[in-house]
Symmetry: C3
Subunit: 345 residues, 3 copies
């Protein structure tokens, strides 16, 4: 169950080499991404229209891609411009191209109707490219369906347990009830989750950012937007400080996004940014390492959950599932809308 008419992140900008290309599968479709001589990003289906060999087994020739099996050559518009032994390629010979966008260090691909591709729908992942923020970019591959990872990101009560010794540090996170709202401004569709956790010990990984001796008030305020993008402000402030005094606070901004690779595997792109001037490169590295350690805790749990799923067994709904349930409804609505539109066309 995938929404197609939205922007999926296919790569961090730096993953696409200047001269070569990147091959990555999105929604089960093999894609090849590269940058032409004038800097324009291009995404082609990574499957030659002749015998279905991956074009990524071939090579760049200027702005074109030459298939490495029988030598067909395709331009950046997907048209076959050369077939060995023919004066002219057959007019219909081409591979599919996909709308592409670059926005704050993320490269996006539009997997739905080309006519609907709309760059105003790109998420506000500002901290990926803002001099006020520092981070190290992350990527992780999951061998689980994307929806199980959405579930994880929509319910931070797991921080108290999965991340007890990393991002969590207190059972109070799981006890604090978040406010969940529907987000639909500027065409973005998703959920806003706001969780305040007063008077708790600073989580273990804060020690890498800023040593805080007493308890803190923590907050997590994030949008989780279609197709699976988390944009979050989070932080902690010493309880003794006035509510508007952030001078001793830890303040973070995080951009994370999930892109289904196949029905049972997922790409995960993420960063957690700290404010420039609040620490040097070792702080940036420390946050990154803490995040990777914590995300491996998630991966371990979600992978075990995935293997343990039994379609015949029930799931007991609980209050902390509120966002998960709304998210599944939202996905179902979007998919139904797309299918109805498709059937009408």
């Amino acid at each position: 169950m995938w929404v197609r008419n939205c922007w999926y992140v296919i790569a961090w900008e730096h993953e696409i080499p200047a001269d070569g290309f990147l091959a990555r599968t999105v929604l089960g479709e093999p894609l090849l991404a590269y940058r032409t001589g004038n800097g324009q990003l291009t995404i082609l289906e990574d499957r030659c229209c002749h015998r279905q060999a991956p074009l990524s087994k071939g090579r760049r020739e200027g702005d074109c891609i030459r298939c490495g099996y029988h030598g067909l050559k395709f331009d950046a518009q997907g048209s076959c411009v050369e077939v060995p032994g023919l004066d002219k390629a057959p007019p219909g010979a081409r591979v599919k191209t996909y709308p592409v966008a670059e926005h704050n260090k993320w490269v996006f691909v539009w997997m739905g109707d080309t006519a609907r591709a709309d760059i105003t729908l790109l998420p506000d992942n500002f901290s990926n490219d803002d001099p006020a923020w520092h981070y190290k970019p992350g990527y992780m591959h999951y061998d689980t369906p994307y929806l199980l990872i959405c579930d994880n990101l929509l319910d931070f009560s797991h921080l108290s347990y999965v991340h007890e010794k990393t991002l969590g540090g207190s059972p109070a996170i799981a006890q604090a009830r978040p406010v969940i709202e529907r987000v639909s401004d500027k065409g973005q569709r998703g959920l806003r989750v706001t969780r305040h956790v007063p008077n708790v010990p600073p989580p273990p990984y804060y020690s890498k950012i800023r040593p805080l001796s007493g308890n803190v008030d923590r907050w997590f305020i994030y949008d989780f937007l279609l197709p699976g993008t988390l944009l979050m402000k989070s932080g902690g402030r010493p309880v003794a400080d006035a509510p508007d005094d952030l001078s001793n606070a830890v303040q973070l901004h995080s951009c994370q996004t999930l892109t289904p690779e196949t029905e049972t595997s997922t790409h995960y792109f993420f960063q957690q940014a700290h404010q420039t001037g609040r620490g040097d490169a070792s702080v940036t590295e420390g946050i990154f390492q803490s995040l990777v350690a914590a995300f491996n805790e998630d991966k371990d749990m979600i992978t075990a959950q995935h293997r343990n799923l039994n379609a015949d067994a029930a799931m007991q709904p609980l209050w902390m599932d509120a966002a998960l349930i709304q998210w599944r409804k939202l996905l179902e609505q979007e998919v139904a809308t797309e299918q109805a539109r498709h059937a009408a066309a």
Copy 2:
């Protein structure tokens, strides 16, 4: 095709740690076994009723298990006694529990109707816990269906070939026809196999127990009981000795049992005991190593057989299949009885 209303061995007693737990799948159901503070064994379904994460990814908290994903806590009766953020857990929230029994160092789980669990049906695996007998406990995992291993244990003619250089030592074992009888006393259901093999060389592994220079008369007398438990007296006596003179004999008792893990994998618990006073720890170790070597010969053959099975090819019935055929009938009858009872309920 599994019988459910019977005791399956889930573990050797020593496999269940004092403070932690053991996770093991039986008949396709993930189980978690642990011992409460008062020593009582407990078996819970290893699948949280909330989002199906394995409870074994969580932790013990006293006599309870805390799920490591969202922190639900379950007591030893399977009831959810805590949900983070709720004053009281929902009344129906619970995981399944299973009847459990300890008997002579084996831990048993009852996979059928709880009301039918009956400890008088536990097998007479006495040598597992008898000061007159010494052994080293064994466990082996098979990636083949349980029934193929039952076949192996029900026909010892394979000792002459699979175990020619270990437990066998003579083609005469395969030539000797066993007596096969139905066992049904004390509620136990199964087969009794009695095989005498006169005047053969002692098998290679006897050298680790007691060097015997001339030929011996060997015997194998065992019950093979539902669900898949072998209880055997075996031994060999110098042919020159009087029939009732066991002073120079090798005498062994063996307890072995098969527990299906999934449709295509199996747990195998086993020991071969020798009489106390008939050799020291090096004899115990020698017998164990010989048994492991021999059981790896079985595993190698059965795994190859499993890969080679062709449902379209016939199997030529032979006299040595008599016990296998009776066993399959017994299993079919039991399964049919259970299904009829289930349909009536």
Copy 3:
């Protein structure tokens, strides 16, 4: 889609040991090949008629095979001649045997109706066993369907791209159109492909055979015969030499054949022979190493193609597919003929 009534290569002669046997699966059937005391090759189904264990887990006993599970013994005609514990084996107890032929170092098995086995249908793989030719025999295992490798061998345009730095060396190979003819003399059924490539640089691997400084005229003339055997004359002659002057030419003969192992895996037997006197053992080894390097290039491409195949995606037919298309028609006709014959019988 396999033709059954033809000779498949199961092994190079040297792969069948004097005293043991070779186990290899052909068309999904496990086979066991061995040589009896008088030198006669024998192929049995590698599956005991009793409990389907592979006979190859057993052992040779003279000209017989003893099953390693329960000791049944089979002679070279597949008859069970001994069952432990029986005076006489049951009359119907036997394993299937297959017609076998040896021809120029290849061992062939007939997978169709025994009555139709006809040694006049063996291919003319003369250079496998001709003192005028030298080669080193090769074998490679593919985890792809056989038909994708047939496609590769039926269209040498890929030499320009897959083998650019090994067997190819020029885009002109892909541009040169071959003549494709149906072959059906002497009962052989297949295609003849004749391709001349004038005035191109010698391919990189010629340097291992005979350094040629200027351009050459190259030729590839081969039959591709059922079930998947390539018999090829190829070579190159300095363009300055007269057409009938081969004194400075590279001349090669190659025998290659594909045998399906399963629906998705394939055996590949091959050699590329050079003329005796045209180089010593280091030339033979150099050609072999070049061939293996090139065939690994094929395997890499075909494996990637296989993973990338999408049954819902179209394939654009091009001129270079002419032989592929004819080959598929030929296979379909043969299979249809066999099925009609089978239905009539």
